[in-house]
Subunit: 405 residues, 4 copies
């Protein structure tokens, strides 16, 4: 066993961290003012610089112009980027574009790739991913109300989605819709590319989430498809392949979420220590002298460190044996790191006192927008059931056949 | 022992609850849109109705036009009002005006009462309370940077405050400022009434708190006093009486906070049960069938109920023996109920899934704006030390002389 | 609402507390040595004194020679007695005799009462209650393997029980056994009195529980019934009444458990404060100066106080509206107080350091023998489901018909 | 980074595990009966077998007849051994002998090694380590009441120790005693070898710990030194070297404790899953179908896995950079793994219901005897302060000079 981060990737991590400190963190103050246009202007410059330095597309292979990293290496990059809400965007690996690029690279036809993937890679466009539906439980991903029926050479979509992140300003959406209603549950849906200027596609609103309506990349939309027609050639992979494709993204996606959350943890931890070491309770008497604060610092440190090792181990397992064999590890870190994130944010905010609940620091942003960490991409409760189901099967209890209750 | 709520106050509680459901809850949707003017217009009508029915000023004696309730009775009213962020405002007992009215009624001269209290009582003006300072730890209330020096018949204020809630649009501020710098620590500051149109008084900004800049009553301002002159007659009570006056408000104020939080708990609990009973995970299969959700419902129920009894008991103790003798109970409920509030909000949000983090329900508002419950009016950590100090003294350990560490 | 404990019962509580301090606590040291005979000798004297003073049988009406208390009053007595593991025994209200006496007083025929109840009341004999079975889940009380078939004027029992507390030395057992196998689930079992000298009754062993095999009253036995014949007249109530009778005891029994646990909490809390105030970390530097210890003291205080109010409220509800209408409250306190008990014991032990894990104090006894508080008389998980089921029914979701999962 | 366990050590781990299953676990039932002689007889045979296979002394270098493992490798062995309370004893690496052997091998003179170390290595004798004192706080290890004054060629010891584990039957004690009272705090004490047949040495009692008085190796004694004379040549290292020597053992000792606890976790986890998969709640309805149980399994799995990685990482750091540089990691895992241990034991016991609190399974033993994990070798609270102190120093706050409060 060897816990050392290899030299080459360590050098890259250092470079990214310095880049963030120098160019991205200064933009955060604009971002916290809730106005997107100035942020977008500033980020255009930042992204151009990142691209010029080759700090671009850590999620893609070199063949597609990416950095060509292993999953474990990419995970380490995700952690560094996570320190800022703008980190992933700076290197063009922000959700949901990063995942969409991976899907298009893997499953797209040459035509689909040229039209939709290349501008994403270049950083010239954005995209969105429309899966979640307001009327259907996210814990039951095969239960979809959105359908696409074939009419000649076209697919006609009807349905209602929300939490379609980044739809505001996106060039196209990848939409999960039922195309094979008679198929077995996991083979009913397909992924379909829908340009956002297609008639019948409506962005109803940017949903106000935890106090922010947001805008552009930083938004979560409600969208409707009403008789929305796209060429049948806009389907990704074969009919009914929707879940197959989605699942291929899940394991790596969770590694990135978890490592990003750990980057947030490190940021919040750093702020907590800084505050403890400098905030005076009385002249010459520092907050960090309080044992309660010391407890929080110590507990946070070991929670973060052990969680990071668990995520890196899961990434190493996926790299080694594939995500199916690593299902217990992947679901385990998903809910565990989300909890560590909550713990650390809580403590850091409390250490900051009244300042901690203002938007004068980045803590409030993380606190609000990462409340969803326990919900999106599989609620904690769902992942726990997945882990238990896998493990109990090894003891002879088959929960799949019994339903999970 | 008798746990029954007496008939007359129960009837009042029922009336207030119905009033809220009929008139206040419908305004919440406007409020969640982050725009104050339409909210203020709607609330003007609501308040007029409340006043007409005599549902007005539960915090004041009948002599001052209030409802003339005991602390325990007022606590029960606070709980009902807490169900909506707009509840207290509707009955003209919103912070910080409620406390300011109590101070003016108790300590104001006739002239002060006529000029400042009467319009508050009528609901025609608002006020604010400027105590917290950004550079000084709130856990050390005797360490103030704001001072008021006497020059002839005037007091000249210089200082920097923040979290001056409701300053936006307030007619006057009650300001805590050092006037007797040579006095013993708890007798250095005085409370001074400063009309907000006084030269030298500046509202720097409404602080963005947890994503909301807010406005009007629903705002928290940063304010500066620079050579700000008011008549010496604007002092409340005698020079150096600031803390004495502040402390008289503390016990009852905490009862109201705690009961309001329990009102929030009830609202969130009700939404959680409603969701559990109606949200389908698959056709005919309900969220409430999940044991995890059942655990949350059961744990929340008993946490809320036992916390409420503890708060009512503390109110009963204050009514019976005074707030000094009830110090352990009052500090105890302050941090305990804040924790119950967090637990219940967390569970209700998680039960709502993605909906829970949107601003489509009131949960996000409570989650964001009551994160401060663990901080304002004495951070959890401070109250715990107070309780332990009082109790350990009974065992012969005097922590006051040793400092609390 | 009135939280004052009425004078007369307060005087009784004070008397019992003084009696415990003077006579019962000194016997604890013997008890911790794991040898029962000297404990039994000492307690014989203590019990005689208690009886002489009229501190005897708080669970029975005056008609049966008891103290004639309301449930709420008895609860307050249970708390005082809970301070010592020997407290209930001293006043002849120890489990399971107390419950057996209540059953016999309520459901026994005159003959049954004379033969079995009177010696219990006098304190001359002990009894046990055989319900739990090792092969059947306690969460499913209607699933029993023990059966009693009628043969002429006799009932012939066959079955296997464990956790038959106090069987060692008991004069008789009240046994839950299926007598109406064709009846509806809740009407299959009856309660049958089985003298322990009946052939076919075997006390297999005293089970070692958390390190203690125990003996006499302080033991938990495994017992077997093999062709064990008793007169049919030994049945309590009508055939199939077993659960009906058992349920009548449940609500009050839980009040007593909870109040006893709170008595344990008070004892552990008192020891924690005493230790904090006197243990030196360095000369003149006391453990109680540490903020972590202060946090534990403060958190424990409010947890105990609010839990006590919840239990007293539940007792008041049972007195007022009956235990069926108070089901949410009763199940709620059962798991809630068990948790508070764990919290307080953990903190008190940790405050005592190495001493806390020795048997030199009573803490280890409580820690070990009250681990079962989360299990016996309905596991936490079962009670949470009961609470949720009752509450969700009010929102239109009927979990009873769906099974609880 | 590479998380794979290298082949050779994996083969050793497998062999040890099989050895435990075949030979050690069957002895546990005897051990749970609280009688040591039959256990000692059985273990004599088991140890002879282990020694014959070369599964002996994992803590020592090959030069001393040990297995010659790195700290990380030894850690992995400790985990496997931890599955049974008798595991370490089987391979002759039980505390406190393992540590005493390391001290004697490192600091002993040839004469000391021949007389005291060689029989330990052979497994023919046992030893004990007398450091903790009942009257002095363990959190302040430089505050000792036991002293040894030089008289001619002899050292005369006077003092009072407890938690001298394994003193019952030990051939000698290594005693920490003040020899240089005028030295700086950390250089006052020395380690002195005291044969247990020395006049003036008294084993007062085996302390009853969590219900067990124990005996032989499995005991914790109170001992007194009263004018106890040993040759001055019995001192280990130079005068005042006591803490220096003790500290050299601390880091590795904590790795072993933590890995042993993780072995306990694995045992308890395995039992929990086994129970969940096979215990019926009703015919054909299994405990593992309950979501609460599933949550416990999932949470335990990820807590154990991430904690193990943190411990292995700490061991790797000690191997790589030394224990001083790894202080944050070492103190971090000490309190973190103790908490995971508690969590997993709690859940496994609760899953077992009534069976879980009996001594019919090994869970009760672990639950009782590892309550001390949060206390011995540095209480949680102390380790948290150590971590915070180290970290805050990096932010410019020096807590050492201020005392930790």
């Amino acid at each position: 066993m060897d816990f050392a981060v290899p030299e080459p990737i360590q050098a890259t991590l250092n470079e990214i961290r310095e880049f963030l400190d120098a160019h991205v963190l200064p933009v955060e103050a604009l971002f916290r003012d809730h106005e997107m246009p100035p942020v977008e202007a500033a980020m255009r410059e930042v992204r151009a610089k990142a691209k010029a330095r080759g700090l671009w597309l850590p999620q893609l292979s070199k063949r597609h112009g990416g950095m060509g990293l292993s999953l474990l290496e990419h995970g380490l990059v995700s952690e560094v980027l996570g320190r800022s809400p703008l980190g992933n965007w700076a290197l063009n690996c922000q959700a949901p574009d990063a995942g969409n690029m991976e899907i298009l690279a893997e499953y797209g036809t040459r035509e689909q790739r040229e039209r939709f993937l290349d501008p994403l890679i270049a950083g010239d466009t954005r995209s969105c991913f429309a899966m979640t539906e307001p009327d259907k439980a996210g814990s039951n991903p095969v239960w979809l109300g959105t359908a696409a029926r074939r009419e000649g050479d076209e697919l006609v979509l009807d349905g209602h989605k929300w939490f379609t992140s980044g739809a505001d300003g996106a060039a196209f959406a990848i939409v999960m819709a039922v195309t094979e209603p008679e198929g077995p549950p996991h083979k009913r849906a397909s992924m379909i590319i829908v340009p956002t200027d297609t008639p019948g596609y409506t962005l109803v609103r940017n949903i106000s989430v935890m106090g922010d309506v947001g805008g552009g990349w930083a938004s979560h939309a409600e969208v409707r498809f009403e008789g929305c027609r796209v060429p049948a050639a806009n389907m990704l992979g074969f009919p009914g392949a929707g879940f197959l494709i989605a699942q291929a993204r899940l394991g790596p996606g969770r590694i990135h979420h978890c490592m990003r959350w750990l980057g947030i943890c490190e940021r919040a931890f750093d702020m907590m220590c800084q505050r403890a070491a400098t905030r005076e309770l009385a002249p010459g008497k520092f907050l960090g002298e309080k044992q309660t604060i010391q407890n929080w610092i110590a507990e946070s440190r070991v929670e973060i460190d052990s969680a990071r090792l668990a995520v890196l181990h899961a990434a190493w397992r996926i790299d080694a044996v594939g995500q199916k064999a690593a299902r217990v590890e992947v679901s385990g870190i998903k809910f565990h790191v989300a909890k560590v994130l909550r713990n650390v944010l809580e403590r850091s905010i409390q250490t900051h006192g009244a300042l901690g609940i203002t938007d004068d620091t980045v803590l409030s942003f993380f606190y609000r927008h990462e409340r969803g960490a326990q919900i999106y991409d599989g609620a904690d409760e769902v992942h726990k059931t997945v882990v238990a189901r896998e493990l109990l099967e090894r003891y002879g209890l088959n929960l799949r056949s019994r339903g999970t209750k």
